[in-house]
Symmetry: C2
Subunit: 202 residues, 2 copies
C-alpha cells in the first residue's frame, strides 16, 4: 500500500522501521503502527526502551556464546552443572528447549547459526573456532551434538564431529527415532525408516 | 515457551515488550528478539528511535482527527481541496485507500474507531461530538459517510446520519453493490441481493 505524501513523516518512518521485524510486511507494519499509536502508547514506549536496553547491555558469553549481561553467563557460572559435558546447539531457543526437557546437566555451546552453503554460511561464519578452543579446556570430556536433524543441522554436526575427533575429543550425537508416545501409523515414513535403520539390540 | 531463570533479564524484557504488537505471541516475540539481536541491530536501534519519534511528534489534526505533525495536517491545509465536502472514514488506513482511489477531492474526518456496543465502544468513545462541530463550520455542505459496510460500520453511519440530519446538514452514504469488474457468478449472495434491492433506474 502506497502512502500519499500528506502522511506525517514520523508515521511513515515508524511503519518503515517496523518492517525490520521478521514476517512483517507493509500492511502488518501499518496495522502495528496504528495499533501502537491508538491503543498502546505505553507499550510502544516500553518497546523502544527495551530495544535500546537489550542492544546496550547484551553481550555474548565468552564461554557458551549465548546472550548474557555479563562476560560469563549465569548458566556457565553455575557450580552445580557438570563441566565435563558440553552440549552444542544451533540457537538460544534450542538451549531453552533443552533446559525445559531437564535432560542435560552439563554446559552448553550456542553456535548462533548453522552451516548453510546455499545461504553462503560457511565454517567461518559460525563460531566453530571458538567452540574448538572451548572444547579443549581440559575439563570437557564429551561434546554432545544437539543440532537439528535438518540437512543444515546434520551437515553442521558432521563438520563439528570431524573437527573435534581430530583433536581426540569425545563426540556424541543425540538420537533420532520415533517420538515418545509416537505411533507407527502417524509418524512420517522418513523417521520410521531411519528408526528401523538405527535399531538397537535389546 | 517458558524461559529459564538464567536468561538475561534484558532479553526477557525485550521479548515481553514485543508482545504488545498485534498478532505477536510469546513464540513470535522470541523469534523477533533473536532476529533483531543477531541479524539486525541497526534495524532494532532505528525501530526504537522511530517509536519514540512518533510518540513525541504525532498529534491529532484539530480539523480531521488524523495523525499529524502539526496542529492542522497538510491535507486539511491544502487550498486545492473542495472544502464543501467532508468524507467520514473509520481509520487512517481508510483515508489512504480513498486517496489512492482519487475519487474524493474534499476533506476528511477520521473517527479513529467505530461504534461497537459489544466491545463497549459507544458514541462518547469515538470523536463524534468533534465531528458534529466540524460539520457545522458553515462551509461543509455535504458529509459523505464512508464507514465500512460491516455491522459496526453500518451502525456508525446510521448514528452519524441521524445526528447530522437533526442539524440540517446534508448527508450521503457511499454506494453498495457489485464490485467493478464483478461477475454475478462469483459475487457473494448477500452483495447480489443488496445490489438488486438497491437497483437504480437507467
Amino acid at each position: 500500500m502506497k502512502s500519499p505524501q500528506n502522511s506525517p513523516s514520523a508515521l511513515l518512518e515508524l511503519i518503515d522501521a517496523l518492517k525490520c521485524l521478521p514476517g512483517v510486511g507493509p500492511r502488518s507494519a501499518q496495522r502495528m503502527a496504528y495499533h501502537l499509536l491508538q491503543r498502546d502508547q505505553t507499550g510502544a514506549r516500553r518497546l523502544a526502551f527495551s530495544l535500546n536496553l537489550a542492544l546496550d547491555t547484551l553481550v555474548r558469553c565468552s564461554l557458551c556464546n549465548n546472550y548474557s549481561e555479563h562476560e560469563v553467563c549465569s548458566l556457565c557460572r553455575d557450580d552445580e552443572r557438570d563441566r565435563s559435558k558440553l552440549c552444542v546447539v544451533e540457537m538460544p531457543a534450542d538451549l531453552l528447549m533443552m533446559e525445559q526437557a531437564r535432560c542435560h546437566q552439563g554446559l552448553y555451546y550456542v553456535l548462533q547459526g548453522r552451516l548453510s552453503p546455499l545461504d553462503g554460511i560457511g565454517p567461518k561464519d559460525i563460531a566453530l573456532e571458538q567452540l574448538l578452543k572451548r572444547a579443549q579446556d581440559g575439563v570437557v570430556e564429551e561434546v554432545i551434538l544437539a543440532t537439528n536433524y535438518t540437512a543444515e543441522g546434520e551437515a553442521t554436526a558432521y563438520y563439528i564431529a570431524e573437527m573435534l575427533k581430530r583433536q581426540q575429543i569425545g563426540v556424541t550425537r543425540i538420537a533420532r527415532g520415533l517420538p515418545v508416545g509416537g505411533e507407527l501409523e502417524h509418524v512420517d515414513s522418513g523417521t520410521l525408516a531411519q528408526a528401523v535403520y538405527e535399531r538397537k539390540p535389546v
